[in-house]
Subunit: 239 residues, 4 copies
DNA sequence: AATGAATGAGCCTTCATTCAT
DNA sequence: AATGAATGAAGGCTCATTCAT
């Protein structure tokens, strides 16, 4: 039976605000401690509420985690999907997608890790909202690839879903060390390199025109630059 | 409530045997239940010993898991490393490596999952025996790529470590559904497809070029690639 | 997690009506879930009010239960007490009382159960309004019995209060299975049978020799058997 | 992860003993506080163990209660069933049964109450061990009644199961006040009174014939009863 | 009068690990 | 070496009740 009990100052907030505050607190705590080690009591304290209040808005700890991650996804997906359409050209689009994923991981390694460890391995993942969001997020690679194939820009026999796995798999493999907290990585440079290798690997006429703007003259100029540089470097080393 | 537990027949065994039995039991239980949900008591029962006995041979639950996984790795690495040298040709070697990883995951999805969820995300992973084993396991991709580059079979500007990430990342991304217990995949066919896309993406002279003759510009570009690679190699040796 | 809870239309109602609606909702919920498992929030929702409003009309959950049960009692007691006086004759009166109790349980097994489990065992029961109501309800048995004794219809040495306990106890014991939700019982037939056995058990001049087949001679023969057996047993023990 | 933690003096006991001690402690605590209010921590402390130890032997709080009550039942049922067969004569047998139930309630009102409130109302009661035990316990009334009917001692149309309900219902109704903690009752005198009213109510030829003088046969029968009872008592004492 | 957000006390339960026998 | 009884820390969750709006 509940006892009356001395109350602390009640701080009334509209539902929306309260939920937002709890989500934010939970995000911070989950990011810092991981799911298992996160304490509801810590989250409550950080949100400035009592433990029980959390259960007014969230079914249980797991649900809270899910909501945090979905909220996060929802946030950047909206941005992302408004930006993406304005990017033109296959290379640029792939680069944007790759850059975005790298950037997301770079910005929230701890949340990314939660997705990788708490959601994706879960047998029920497929029937999850997060799965659906992620699908939406990753399927654009497939669309881009198919369009490029249709346009003759990519080889006709490119399996689009493997390309998707390759891109996301590569990124996530590459960033594991950072996600674990070891060192750092450069988002832009890495995006360039991955995009390059992928693009060139898929292009129908390899170096022959990733960028249609590049005229033979321009290519020869680049070549000259590179040769000069190489020779100069050689001289520097073995004078 | 535990069962009445009739006094078990005391059964002395040489240390080796006992350890092997516990490892096997632990492997089965961890594979079935995952790390958190696995119970020492289940492992003990399956191994035909009492809980306390496990602590004679293993420091704690985590240590037991580690030993299980290292034992598993040790097992297939030995085989693998004896097989690999006899595989000739870049395509074949890549194919072997890719096939092997697919095959490993296909054979032990649950243990693979443990590696993905319990070890790799761990901040201390890098200083782990498993990390070292894995390094040995995956670094062959780098060797193969570098050799192929040196031989002019792959483009000169291919970043070997990105290729490694791409291959392992792709495989793991591709197999997540299976690891979660959804559906199945064909090891051989998948190995072929991944090898193909990777190889063709890196090959200096893509077969798919309608006209096998390179343009003069392309030849010059290859020359530049080689020069750059040579300089880079030079630098590495005489810094 | 509670539902988003769109702001309900404020709906002012006269106190009487509001109380009645809450009582009805509470009755349904308590009947369905029992006291412990009933949720104030469920009751509120069903009554179309908000939790806090319940506390304007009832002190607490327990008080609400009490009011529900008293209200129920009040309802059938009024009917009952207006009917009873018109029933004539001891047998008919007993039958009516028994029938009424059976009928009450049959009509509201869940509420009956609440009385049996939540009120009667309570140490404070005796100082309860419900106790008083119940007393009024059951004491008529005593009146009937005493009148029948006075009239010579029942044996002179019949302890009226034991008869009361016997009647109500029998009924409640007999109906437990039904109250638990197992099967059903026939109110009328059962009332007949219980009334019969009670009436004949108390009647001063039983209507007939129950078993006409048993002659005095047979009884004497049985007696002889028993006496012999007793004596023989005696001899065996204390020779 | 469990911390090492300072230990108190470990007090090793064979399973049997430990279980017995926990049962005893639980019995006391449940009897004192009822099920809901009983604390596992109190039980543990009283048993001289740590809370967790209780869960080695009992699945949960409910299971513990169940075991306590079954143990209690088991205890008196054994005694009871060894005594009963030596009681001779219908009157004596009924009296013994009634006396035993009164005596049980008198000796353990709190446990009796637990049975009445926590077990019997439960929808699953019927599939319970306790139900089976209770069945065994109460069904003897039916056997006795049927035998008496067969022997012509009771009226032929007596419904045995109603008699059982009447006896147990009467006893329990009668003892509610005591079970609630109000006052006391005399086991023996009450047993006599209930037995009398039941016996006379069922007897084929009630002694209560208008003429208070018993018939010679009836007097002899009573005599036989007493002799039998005496012999039975004798046997119990000098086996 | 009505709303509904916020409170908060505290119990049951788990299970890796230890250590007396 | 083997047993298995005992430990004990700690955290998720519930829900009647209050009270600011």
């Amino acid at each position: 039976m509940q006892q009356p009990a001395r109350r602390r100052q009640v701080n009334r907030l509209p539902r929306e605000r309260r939920v937002a505050e709890i989500l934010e607190a939970a995000r911070a705590v989950f990011a810092q401690s991981g799911y298992e080690n996160a304490l509801i009591s810590d989250i409550a304290e950080r949100a400035g509420v009592v433990e029980g209040s959390i259960y007014r808005y969230f079914e249980n700890k797991r649900d809270l985690l899910t909501k945090v991650v979905e909220h996060w996804y929802g946030g950047f997906l909206a941005d992302d999907e408004s930006q993406f359409p304005s990017v033109r050209g296959t290379w640029n689009r792939l680069r944007y997608i790759i850059w975005h994923h790298l950037s997301t991981i770079h910005g929230e390694p701890a949340l990314s890790r939660l997705v990788f460890t708490e959601f994706r391995p879960n047998p029920a993942y497929r029937s999850t909202t997060l799965f659906a969001l992620n699908r939406r997020y990753t399927s654009r690679v497939i669309a881009v690839v198919k369009e490029a194939v249709a346009a003759g820009e990519f080889r006709a026999d490119v399996p689009a879903n493997l390309v998707r796995d390759m891109i996301y798999g590569c990124i996530e493999h590459y960033t594991w060390a950072f996600v674990r907290g070891e060192g750092d990585f450069e988002v832009d440079a890495t995006a360039d390199r991955i995009t390059d290798i992928v693009y060139r690997g898929l292009a129908a006429k390899p170096e022959a025109a990733p960028d249609p703007m590049m005229s033979p003259i321009a290519r020869l100029e680049r070549l000259a630059d590179r040769l000069e540089a190489a020779v100069a470097a050689q001289n520097r080393k073995t004078p």
